[in-house]
Amino acid sequence: MKKILTVLFTCLLVIFSASAISAGSDHIIIGKDGEGIIDAYEESRLEDDLDHIRDDYGIDIYFIFDASISDVQQYAINFIYDVHNSENTVVLCMNDEYYDIEALGPQQDLIYANSSDLFNTFYNAVSTSSGIEEYYKKVVRIVNSEAYTSSVDTVSGTPAFVDLADLLSSSEESDITSRLNELYNKYGIKVVAVTTNTLHGMTPQDYADDFYDYNGYPNDGVLFLLSMEDRDWYVSTRGKGARNITEFGVDLIADEMMSSLKKGDYYGAFKKYASKTDYLLGSAAKGKVVDGYTEPQKESESEFGAGNIGIGVGIGAIISFITTLIFKGQLKSVHKERYARNYVVDGSFYLNGYADQFINRSVSRSPRPKNDDSGSHSGGGTSYHTSSSGISHGGHGGKF
């Protein structure tokens, strides 16, 4: 009797724990080399969360880490077609070198547009579990962006020139559009201009940032907003656009366009926008981000200067110092003996406890200095703020 009860009890226990484990079908899949990157308690909490998200929002979000995957993109594509059955499916798949994000569903374009942001959100987090959590929360935010309280105007496709205030004639419009598209082809950075009669109660910064983010424009870009409501102009930059066009660069654009804007010559103003942006992006592409007035510099790369003397003196000092120390050390041979290495009994060293435990991981990054041999530097780089979509933008605005 006792035996039967024990067996029964064990079976119940196994079924119970098995169901607890499979209550959530795995959204988080950890494979080779991933042992210990997330502890079991955290993993089950996140799985629960992801189940709720699937049920409440209809978004099925996956995270895969496996060092044995050779082609992450192929794996992710196969995987997503396998599992896709609800409205939206998102997969972040990585091995120890590469990552790939795949999305299927009505919002897939929006997710693809934000894929490197999504990855950075995961990667820059303090721990693996918080990284996964922020990644899926951001997916939810992006997918639900219509439900999100942004009242910005939306457009279809990603046009370079959006004339909501109808300031230009249609031929002028197409001319500006083609100039701006040419910049995109040249530099890979999307250059956009938008005119509007109303900001729908938003600030110029929010309107410009949100217009760019919520209309699916690519990661790297710059947008010029002209609002006739209160005569505001605003330049919003993102990604490489923000890095290559600093606040100083924004001022150059505005200064260039200002007289035309004040006169009401909007076509002329946007032509200048195109050409000034061309200049700024072109300079950055050559390695010189425009960030202040620079003294005209002689080509100094191949000249002998103070730096070379410094190197000679520095190395000479180091070699001389080290050699002198070595010879001085020759004179000393009497010392206190701290160790008993000679007296260890051969074969007596025996380890019975050995544990290496992973705690957490953090990643920090610093921007690489661009080749910039400018003299007096009156710029301050780009100042970043985070928009409602959680993405960093640079830029600023003013009145005209």
């Binding site: 490489k240 890095r243 191949s302 000249e303 002998f304 070379n308 003397i309 190197i311 000679g312 003196v313 190395i315 000479g316 000092a317 070699i319 001389s320 110092f321 050699t323 002198t324 010879f327 001085k328 020759q330 004179l331 000393k332 041979s333 009497v334 010392h335 206190k336 003996e337 701290r338 160790y339 008993a340 290495r341 000679n342 007296y343 260890v344 009994v345 007596s348 060293f349 025996y350 380890l351 019975n352 406890g353 050995y354 544990a355 290496d356 435990q357 992973f358 705690i359 957490n360 991981r361 953090s362 990643v363 920090s364 990054r365 610093s366 921007p367 690489r368």
Partner: protein
């Protein structure tokens, strides 16, 4: 009541000395040699008066062969009569607790010590030339140093914080990834014959610097080996010496365990628990040559391991030579590098 022992050459009656080269008792007068382990002939002095001066801890013995008064302290075991030079062994001081269980006899003689001293001076660039030319060996003594040897086993549990750092870059950023770990090691390691200088008269740093001795050369203690050399019995108890041995054992244990944590960018011990078990302790004597050199009104001390020949001793620094060389090399290399860059650029 103490007795003085001397060994008489059966051939000519001269006083025998222990010769390190042959490892036998040797007569300096007729060159006869005898095996110390089997040599039996001994004559004993009877001491006429022993004046024991308690307050200074000195004893006075009368040398029977020349009548001179030999003053030694209570620790001296073997010495030579300052008048007639004959070696004497103070048997009284090597009785009972003060008798070592084993001894490593001298393998190198006085001439070897002098030769090693000369070699020690060679190749030392910042040694004043005057030292090599003018310094005089004031005194060379062959001394048996008393040691306590300790055995012990260390049981250790040590915890560490460790990091692995990875760097990489793409076109726009330099990335640094730091992974944090906690490590744990536990185990044991045994030590034997860790030596501690048991004489307060002899500088520990000297005896530690000439380590190690080859323990295969240990012999059962026999007073015969002391003949011709100076010896002191111990005046620091085993208990007082043990602390030093324990310290060395703990340091080595920590180093040994730390060596098992590899593959990390940084490893820092945060907590360690090391327990030492009591082991055997033994009183022995080991041979050392001590040299005293006078130069420029200062004394310089040197020591040589009387068995292995390892020679140590700090030498004076010729500051002029050092600065001259340092500045000269600096100027030379700097000038050369600057010139090279000028030509190439």
């Amino acid at each position: 009541m103490s007795d003085l022992k001397y060994f008489e050459c059966p051939n000519c009656g001269g006083r025998l000395e222990f010769d390190s080269a042959s490892q036998k008792l040797k007569c300096p007068y007729c060159e006869g040699t005898y095996d110390p382990d089997t040599f039996g002939e001994e004559k004993e002095y009877t001491i006429e008066n022993t004046k024991w001066d308690e307050s200074d801890e000195l004893s006075v013995y009368t040398c029977k062969s020349c009548g001179g008064a030999i003053i030694t302290d209570a620790n001296t075991v073997a010495t030579s009569c300052p008048y007639c030079g004959d070696p004497v062994v103070l048997q009284g001081n090597v009785r009972g607790d003060y008798k070592p269980s084993r001894i490593i006899p001298f393998a190198l003689d006085k001439n070897a010590a002098k030769k090693e001293y000369k070699r020690h001076l060679k190749g030392k660039f910042f040694l004043p030339r005057a030292f090599t030319d003018e310094a005089v060996i004031d005194e060379i003594k062959g001394v048996y140093v008393p040691f306590w040897l300790f055995d012990g086993t260390a049981n250790a549990q040590i915890w560490y914080d460790a990091t692995k750092v990875r760097h990489w870059s793409d076109a726009d950023y330099n990335y640094t990834e730091t992974s944090y770990f906690k490590l744990f090691r536990s185990g044991r390691v045994s030590y034997e014959e860790v030596p501690v200088d048991a004489s307060s008269l002899i500088d520990d740093r000297m005896t530690e610097s000439i380590e190690p001795f080859d323990d295969r050369e240990f012999r059962e203690f026999n007073a015969n080996y002391l003949a011709g050399y100076l010896a002191d019995k111990y005046d620091i108890s085993a208990r007082d010496c043990k602390g030093k041995a324990d310290e060395r054992i703990i340091n080595s244990t920590e180093a040994l365990f730390a060596s098992t944590t590899s593959g990390y960018s940084s490893v820092v011990p945060t907590h360690s628990r090391i327990m030492l078990s009591e082991g055997r302790q033994e009183y022995v004597m080991m041979p050392m040559w001590l040299l005293n050199v006078k130069y420029d009104n200062k004394d310089y001390k040197f020591a040589m391991n009387g068995q292995t020949g390892k020679f140590v001793g700090d030498l004076p620094l010729d500051k002029g030579k050092m600065w001259g060389f340092g500045i000269g090399l600096f100027a030379g290399i700097s000038a050369l590098l600057i010139l090279l860059q000028y030509i190439l650029i």
